[in-house]
């Protein structure tokens, strides 16, 4: 079946602009995660959604970052007033459930470049 998809695959934006990154998880997966992969910081957890529970936002680096998950499926990560340090590959993953028993499947990522 189809895996996790993310769009766009590449995004170049000017400093100060807002961007939206989209993640389509595997159908039926109730848990969805966002991570960021950058040269300076490695792979960082950003936010986690599980079913109808309140999301775990503990990894969001600032209040310029927000994410939502509509209808328990598609998720959008929004970065407001982008800064150059936001340049990174943003990865989305989904799993059948929120427990560690379930493997996380990662998407190909969105490469964000802030000029």
């Amino acid at each position: 079946g189809a895996g996790v998809s993310q769009s766009p695959s590449n995004k170049v934006t000017e400093k100060g602009k807002d961007v939206e990154l989209r993640c389509d998880p595997i159908s039926g997966h109730t848990a969805l995660y966002w991570y960021r992969q950058s040269l300076g910081q490695g792979l960082e957890f950003l936010i986690y959604f599980q079913g109808n529970s309140a999301p775990d936002k503990s990894g969001l680096p600032s209040d310029r970052f927000s994410a939502e998950r509509t209808g328990g499926s598609v998720s959008t990560l929004t970065i407001q007033r982008t800064q150059q340090e936001d340049s990174a590959v943003y990865l989305c993953a989904s799993s059948l459930g929120g427990s560690l028993l379930y493997e996380q499947y990662f998407g190909p990522g969105t490469r964000l470049t802030v000029t």
Binding site: G42, E44, G59, G98, Y102
Partner: protein, 113 residues
């Protein structure tokens, strides 16, 4: 807070040689440990995981890892590597049973012919 340290940023090795990629973690509570691989231009893929039970965990592609609680380590090993094992390898720990992962900085394994 939990953290993961991958001691080597790059590991060059010749084909058919054994390899060990080192990972140490810090945690004061129950530990759940993972190794992920990222092949060039591909997404992250789970290699293996330790949740409980036997401390020796076998994964895909001939890799295995051993959980050592006294040394707080979870080193990844393969007895004989192939060119196709060239990739970046990430060790990760989960601070709870929610699936949220804390990753190490990654180790680039470069297999030479």
């Amino acid at each position: 807070a939990q953290s993961v340290t991958q001691l080597d940023s790059q590991v060059p090795v010749f084909e058919e040689a054994p390899v060990e990629l080192r990972c140490n973690y810090s945690s004061s509570v129950s530990v759940y440990l993972f190794w992920y691989v990222q092949y060039p231009n591909q997404g992250l893929q789970l290699l293996l995981k330790y949740l409980s039970g036997s401390t020796l965990v076998k994964g895909i592609n001939g890799f295995e890892a051993e959980f050592n609680k006294s040394q707080t380590s979870f080193h990844l090993r393969k007895p004989s590597v192939h060119i196709s094992d060239t990739a970046e390898y990430f060790c990760a720990v989960s601070p709870s049973n929610t699936g949220k992962l804390i990753f190490g900085q990654g180790t680039t394994l470069q297999v030479k012919p």
